[in-house]
């Protein structure tokens, strides 16, 4: 059960990252900041697990790294969504929507 929950959260984290990167090339630190803003501390993403996730998504070919100058004028690793990544995001959002519909229906039925 523990493991399943972990898998579930991992999937969710992947989807969030892909969603954030979908807005445009962005570096790791900025992603962590955006996540803080969006989630409004609703759930905490441990910063330590952000980077392994980024590397995993890159390894699967969903994200593409690009080293360029950041807003502070220093070289930073930016992530860009690939075509494969965009497709993956679509799939994940779709299945997420289906699941949340299902959850809503169940909750509605109980009500």
């Amino acid at each position: 059960m523990d493991k399943d929950k972990k898998e579930f959260l991992k999937g969710t984290l992947d989807m969030l990252i892909l969603k954030i990167v979908a807005f445009g090339p962005i570096h790791g630190y900025a992603i962590s900041q955006r996540m803080k803003e969006i989630s409004k501390d609703f759930f905490q993403v441990h910063q330590g697990s952000l980077y392994p996730a980024l590397h995993r998504l890159e390894d699967r070919g969903w994200l593409e790294p690009e080293w360029k100058e950041s807003e502070t004028g220093r070289e930073a690793k930016f992530y860009k969504l690939t075509r494969k990544g965009r497709k993956q995001l679509g799939n994940e959002m779709e299945s997420w929507a289906r699941m949340s519909d299902a959850v809503k229906t169940i909750l509605g039925a109980v009500e």
């Binding site: 570096h27 790791g28 630190y29 910063q47 697990s49 980077y51 392994p52 390894d59 502070t72 690793k77």
Partner: protein, 872 residues
């Protein structure tokens, strides 16, 4: 994959980048906090804390990438090597076991590779086919010139069909006269098997012209030996008998014939004479061994279909060898050459496969024991976060490493085994050169090693995947896991089953060999000594025999054209009795042998009826023959054969000038095995030498070992005629031993394999049992503490060891019943399902198992309850 490799090579860069990325994060966060009013130090502390232990994050990032595979592999190999080094005893036993199993396979595969897989060393070897004649009781007969002529006229599937016949002759040149093998070849024959001569040319159509000068081709050996490798030899004349011949060409150094053994074409033929193909005599003798080269795109099936229609046309020809049952058979040349050894080799290959399986079972057992012993290590690694996949992969790597070390050691053992096999090989394998550990064999060995490691590695891994962490921690020190023990039993049962099959097969082969040793070949080889001389004059031969018989220690001397079981070109021809219809006249054949009086006595054959030849049985008197009992029984069952007339083939006007002749039977002799110790190939007709002069083998029956016999024999020959070369001097028992070599080879190899297999199985059973006794020391201690006696413990241990042996024995029995019929062709005097053989081997397996179980069982009874319980 490229991307991954690049990443592996750019690991340095990747590490730097990872470092930079994380530093950027921490510095960005710190700057942010400072901007919000924190002190620089506090800000850095918070940023660091939020991201966690940097090294952990880095490790996780690295693991997130699949390039990890190669790195893990290296790490696994290093780890595996360390683990193997740490238990040298295990390593030694496992490597040795594997090396024996894989090495045996390497050795046999080298032979299979050289004999069955590699094409014969002839140009377009895959298009060569052998053409055999079937007439009456013969299915592999040579063809007559007439038949070859007819085939050549009609064939569309063959590019070329040529023939050879080999006999003995004398080579001229420097020094002592020397007897050599002389090949009579059609002019297209040599180019079929040899791309180009070393010097000069081979025969051509021009050499068949009626007025063409007589040309000969000599072998590299004769050229070097007799003519001092004279580079200007081509075109020189040599005297052969009363004629002179021109040397046209020299064959290359490594050129040799690899023919089926029944063709009597030896590997080295030193002198070639051309034969023109004359289609005029439909009743001429069949003596040419035919080889054809198929047209590109044709195959033996098409050639056979064509040959069937050609046979039909030949049968319908007027005046053609009346044989209504004449047939042609076409086989791929290589298949036909190896047909005698193929089955032996494949069965041996199967046998070594069994040995390998037993080695696998043994190593699997060792690994199981080790896996249990390593539970603590595994458990700790799992607790530290290693995934199951990672652990399995690590085990697989370690096994593959073990397999490879075993493979390397196997090459050494394989090489040694191959030397031994080559030393013991029978004549049928002797012509195959290049039996060695080549690249293909190396590849095979390592493929087997890797496959083996997968095979023996499966059991422990499957067993380990059932283990539960907490259970393991509890069990680690006390008893083996239940699954482990079930696997042990399965493996022991498998070893017993495989060992039993090998035992049964070997038992059959050994009995066959014993039967071959005991078989009565119709003659006695002990104290008989023989040598060969080219066609002598009767008077000279008669004198020689008298002189030899007068030597001290010599009982009698005689001569025969064909020694039993020797490979001299056979002489066989048609025979028919008086009154046979024309279509019956050329249908059955018998071996014809030319002999001098006293032959039967000298060789210990039994004259059943009538008389031996006398000096006066020559061309001027009534032509007479002696036949064997097989022929007498076939022609005149229940009648007296003496005095009956038979039409046979002889040559009273000179060597090889064959003619049909009516002769009277004056004696019946017991059949002599001439071609094989175990098979009756053809009946025999004996003709007096005066009616059939030809090269002869002289036989001397002595009272015992006569010192310097060879020297005195040569001296006697020189005394009468110093131009006559003496060759193949040696005891007749050598010829008999050669005839047994195939059976000896098979039973020797099978026995060695089985001995290895039994030893391995014994070690395996012993290992499993000792281990289980060691594991159960505590339990046994308790049993003894509460009153069990030594005998009870012994019974218990024996009982538990025999539990897997019985099912193993039953499966082995069933397997043997299914497999041993494959041996039928190789057996003699015994049936595959021989009861005694089975019974003996069941007993043998039980004894071996008992021996393997005894030591551990004894050790169990020596357990001191106090000590056992203290350590439990």
């Amino acid at each position: 994959m490229m991307r991954r490799l690049r990443r592996l090579f750019h690991k340095q860069t990747a590490e730097k980048q990872l470092d930079a990325e994380l530093r950027y994060h921490v510095e960005g966060q710190t700057a942010d906090y400072v901007a919000r009013g924190m002190s620089a130090e506090e800000a850095r502390r918070r940023a660091r804390m939020e991201i966690g232990e940097i090294e952990d994050v880095k490790q996780e990032c690295r693991e997130a990438r699949s390039m990890h595979f190669l790195e893990d592999l290296m790490q696994d190999v290093r780890y595996g090597a360390r683990m193997l080094r740490r238990s040298p005893g295990f390593l030694a036993v496992a490597v040795l076991t594997l090396a024996v199993g894989i090495g045996a396979n390497t050795a046999i595969f080298s032979v299979v590779n050289a004999v069955l897989l590699r094409p014969l060393p002839y140009p377009d070897a895959d298009r060569l086919a052998i053409v055999l004649v079937g007439v009456g009781n013969a299915t592999r007969a040579p063809a007559s010139q007439f038949q070859l002529f007819q085939i050549r006229q009609r064939t569309k599937e063959f590019e070329q069909v040529g023939g050879i016949w080999v006999t003995n002759g004398v080579i001229p040149g420097d020094g002592e006269p020397e007897q050599v093998k002389v090949g009579f070849v059609t002019t297209n024959f040599l180019p079929l098997l040899c791309a180009r001569p070393e010097l000069g040319r081979f025969f051509g159509a021009e050499d068949e012209a009626p007025n063409a000068p007589w040309g000969v081709v000599i072998s590299h050996g004769v050229w070097a030996r007799r003519f001092g490798s004279d580079p200007s030899i081509i075109g020189k004349s040599i005297r052969i008998g009363a004629n002179s011949a021109v040397i046209l060409g020299v064959t290359p150094k490594d050129f040799k014939f690899i023919f089926p053994s029944d063709a009597s074409v030896p590997a080295n033929v030193d002198l070639f004479y051309p034969v023109s193909v004359d289609g005029s005599d439909p009743n001429g003798p069949g003596y040419l061994h035919l080889i054809g080269r198929l047209r590109p795109g044709s195959n033996t099936a098409r050639a056979q279909a064509e040959a069937d229609s050609i046979s039909e046309q030949i049968r319908s020809l007027r005046g053609s060898s009346g044989a209504s049952n004449f047939r042609l058979y076409i086989f791929p040349f290589q298949n036909d050459v190896v047909r005698e050894v193929r089955r032996t080799l494949l069965l041996l290959f199967g046998g070594v496969g069994f040995v390998l399986l037993i080695s696998c079972a043994n190593v699997a057992n060792l690994l199981l024991a080790r896996a249990t012993g390593r539970l603590r290590e595994t458990t700790v690694r799992t607790a530290l976060g290693a995934s199951r996949g990672r652990l399995v992969r690590q085990l697989l790597t370690e096994n593959a490493l073990l397999g490879c070390i075993g493979g390397v050691a196997a090459l050494g053992i394989g090489w040694a085994a191959l030397r031994a096999i080559l030393a013991a090989r029978p004549a049928s394998l002797a012509n195959f050169s290049g039996v060695n550990l080549d690249f293909k064999v190396l590849a095979f060995t390592f493929a087997v090693a890797i496959l083996t490691s997968a095979l023996f590695g499966i059991a422990p891994i499957v067993a380990s995947s059932r283990l539960d962490l907490t259970q393991s921690l509890k069990e680690a020190g006390s008893t083996a896991g239940r699954t482990g023990r079930a696997w042990n039993k399965l493996l022991v049962a498998a070893e017993v089953a495989l060992g039993f099959v090998l035992l049964v097969g070997t038992g059959l082969l050994m009995r066959t060999f014993v039967n071959v040793l005991r078989v009565d070949p119709g003659f006695r080889a002990e104290n008989v000594f023989s040598f060969q001389i080219p066609s002598p004059k009767y008077e000279m031969l008669h004198q020689l025999l008298e002189n030899l018989a007068a030597l001290p220690g010599v009982r009698s001397a005689a001569a025969v054209s064909h020694l039993p079981l020797d490979s001299t070109a056979n002489w066989y021809d048609h025979y028919w009795k008086e009154g046979a219809k024309p279509e019956e006249q050329n249908s059955v054949m018998a071996d014809h042998r030319s002999i001098l009086p006293g032959y039967f006595r000298t060789i210990g054959a039994t004259l059943l009826e009538g008389r031996d030849f006398t000096e006066s049985d020559d061309a001027a008197h009534q032509h007479v023959i002696i036949i064997d009992d097989v022929l007498a029984q076939e022609l005149w069952p229940g009648e007296d054969s003496i005095g009956k007339k038979l039409n046979v083939s002889d040559s009273p006007s000179g060597p090889y000038q064959f003619q049909r002749d009516w002769a009277v039977v004056v004696g019946v002799v017991k059949h002599i095995q001439c071609h094989s110790l175990t098979l009756m190939v053809r009946p025999q007709i004996y003709v007096p030498f005066q009616l059939a002069p030809r090269p002869m083998s002289v036989l001397i029956h002595t009272t015992g070992i006569v010192p310097n016999l060879a020297t005195s024999v040569r001296a006697q020959v020189v005394l009468l005629d110093k131009t006559i070369p003496v060759s193949n001097v040696g005891p007749l028992s050598d010829t008999v031993a050669r005839a047994r070599s195939q059976s000896r080879f098979a039973s020797l190899l099978a026995a060695s394999l089985t001995a290895i297999a039994l030893l391995l199985a014994c070690v395996g059973i012993y290992g499993v049992l000792s281990y289980s006794v060691a594991q159960r020391t505590g339990e046994i201690g308790i049993r003894m503490a509460i009153g069990a006696r030594g005998a009870d413990i012994m019974k218990m241990v024996f009982g538990s060891s025999f539990r897997p042996i019985l099912p193993g024995l039953i499966s082995g029995f069933l397997l043997s019943v299914a497999l041993t019929p494959l041996l039928s062709d190789m057996l003699f005097g015994i049936k595959p399902n021989d009861f005694t053989n089975y019974a003996e081997n069941v007993v043998a397996i039980l004894i071996v198992s008992a021996i393997a179980s005894y030591l551990p069982a004894r050790r169990a009874t020596r357990v001191d309850p106090l000590v056992a319980l203290r350590h439990w």
